[in-house]
């Protein structure tokens, strides 16, 4: 069952960038792609406890700030060492200028 939560305003995130969103003891990363689409993943790297929102977004990739592990933020796929566990992703929709994510 989806539980849609308002994460931020659509223009809080620059194009090709990421912000951190904390909710109910959990941390998410919300992305805006170069094509102006929005995505959401778990906010912490699967290698160590590091916030991905401090990392760099290039095209569809988020690069972890700590040891440069890379994920495709659209699918959560880990793109190779040092990260081998995928990131969990969450459905996102934009309504009336707000970014909503569905956390299950």
């Amino acid at each position: 069952m989806s539980n849609w939560i308002e994460a931020c305003a659509a223009d809080d995130i620059d194009e090709e960038d990421v912000i951190r969103f904390d909710h109910d003891g959990r941390t998410f990363a919300i992305y805006r792609s170069p094509d102006d689409e929005y995505f959401a993943t778990d906010g912490v790297c699967t290698h160590e406890q590091v916030h991905l929102a401090d990392g760099l977004v290039m095209d569809e990739i988020i690069e972890c700030p700590k040891h440069n592990g890379r994920f495709d933020y659209r699918t959560g796929e880990a793109k190779g060492a040092p990260v081998c566990v995928n990131l969990r992703t969450y459905p996102v929709k934009v309504e009336a200028g707000k970014v909503l994510i569905a956390i299950g």
């Binding site: 090709e16 590091v50 916030h51 401090d54 990392g55 760099l56 290039m58 690069e63 700030p65 700590k66 040891h67 440069n68 060492a81 040092p82």
Partner: protein
């Protein structure tokens, strides 16, 4: 029949290579020979999180299940004792012998030693077992001496302070981190250690060391004398080249490889801390790196070239990475991309809360390295961007590098 791929050294580089062989579709036997008794594990935490923990755990790179799933045969607690290039076989410590189609030497580096008798109160840190032995001595209020102000020594000092030990760190050079780290950054680290209560003794050498049942006694060249529960020696590391040397392979500050990571024998490759290689980024300057990401990149690249699956006409793929290194001390995060000594001048970008990045530019204005320090991950994103600028050979406008009003990403498009 394919006799298979053999990798000597089950560290960061060797393990990465084993998985990369499978990722590239290799279906023959893959054997990984490792001298240590543990499953392959990450070394960087040994001087950081693991050391500061009450009950240090090894951070495993690959567990049994992943090794089995990938068909990687790990022979641990076994030392390779000789390479017979003629027979294309590796001799193992138990007397058995293993034939190879291609061999990868990923034997890493070993701590440089001081010429004093080594007892239980004089420690070096390279392995998880070393870390466990050191950890037992780190207790609140107890004196610890660290010899050498390089990364391992400084990270250990921070971990030991976190545990409440009384730390004295002795550096022979005129400052800490003299090799590879700009003075402005070393100064931040120096000040932080002092503020955290580390006693730093700079420009003093070790005249003598001895130990008894109660303590280790260190006699400095200045005449000072120190006593401690434990002396940890962190004065650098040397490439492990014994096997390669005995097999007659070319050695040059490490096992000498070409840009494809092939040694002077085309059936034998080397990767990671044990090898020196021509760094294309700087016109082929021969370097040896002791860095975690390099070990992974070279392991991956060596695997590809062992299989002849590179993109060049001869099936090779040359090394074209930018060196990258990080260190954590207290809440300070340091990152360096490129080699700072390639630069002839520096411009500084000041960020929030005292964090800053130094951009190292060559005579012709090309960005060749960037080094940054700040709390947590403050400098990470701009260092990632600097890496891309370096790889592209960009000659950025110095004023734009300085100004926070310029996002570094915009310089990439230029």
């Amino acid at each position: 029949m394919d006799t298979g791929m053999v990798i000597i050294g089950a560290g960061e580089s060797g393990v990465r290579a084993a998985f990369a062989l499978r990722e590239h579709g290799y279906a023959g036997p893959v054997t990984l020979i490792g001298a240590e008794r543990h499953l392959p594990y990450e070394r960087p935490p040994l001087s950081k999180e693991a050391m500061a923990a009450d009950d240090p755990q090894a951070k495993t790179i690959a567990d049994h299940q992943r090794l089995v799933e990938h068909g990687i045969n790990l022979i641990s607690e076994t030392t390779a004792t000789a390479v017979d290039r003629h027979a294309r076989a590796v001799r193992l410590g138990d007397g058995s012998s293993l034939a190879y189609e291609r061999l990868l030497l990923a034997t890493g580096a070993a701590p440089r030693r001081l010429p004093f008798d080594h007892g239980p109160r004089m420690a070096y840190l390279r392995t998880f077992d070393d870390a466990l032995a050191i950890r037992r001595h780190l207790r609140p209020g107890r004196p610890i001496a660290i010899i050498g102000g390089g990364f391992v020594g400084l990270e250990l000092a921070a971990a030991a302070r976190r545990l409440g030990a009384e730390v004295t760190l002795i550096e022979a050079q005129s400052r800490i981190l003299k090799r590879g780290v700009p003075e402005e950054i070393a100064a931040v680290i120096d000040a932080r250690h002092r503020a955290e209560g580390v006693k730093l003794i700079i420009e003093d050498g070790i005249a003598d060391m001895s130990e008894n049942s109660a303590c280790v006694v260190i006699q400095l060249t200045s005449g000072r004398r120190l006593e401690a529960d434990l002396a940890i020696i962190g004065i650098g590391a040397v490439a492990v080249t014994g096997l390669a040397q005995a097999a007659g392979l070319a050695i040059d500050n490490g096992i000498a490889v070409d840009e494809y990571l092939a040694t002077s024998d085309p059936h034998i490759f080397a990767a990671g801390d044990c090898c020196s290689f021509p760094l294309a980024l700087y016109g082929g300057r021969r370097v040896r790196l002791e860095a975690w990401r390099n070990a992974q990149e070279q392991g991956t690249l060596a695997a590809k070239n062992m299989l002849g699956m590179g993109e060049d006409k001869d099936g090779g793929e040359p090394h074209r990475f930018v060196p990258w290194f990080w260190s954590d001390q207290y809440d300070l995060g340091l990152q360096i991309v490129g080699l700072c000594d390639e630069g002839s001048h520096v411009v500084r970008r000041d960020m929030d809360n005292g964090a800053f990045i130094l951009f190292h530019l060559a005579h012709d204005g090309r960005l060749v390295a960037a080094s940054g320090i700040g709390a947590g991950m403050t400098v990470a994103r701009d260092i990632q961007l600097a890496e891309m600028l370096i790889a592209k050979g960009v000659r950025p406008d110095a004023e734009k590098l300085v100004s926070l009003a310029t996002k570094l990403k915009t310089l990439l498009a230029a």
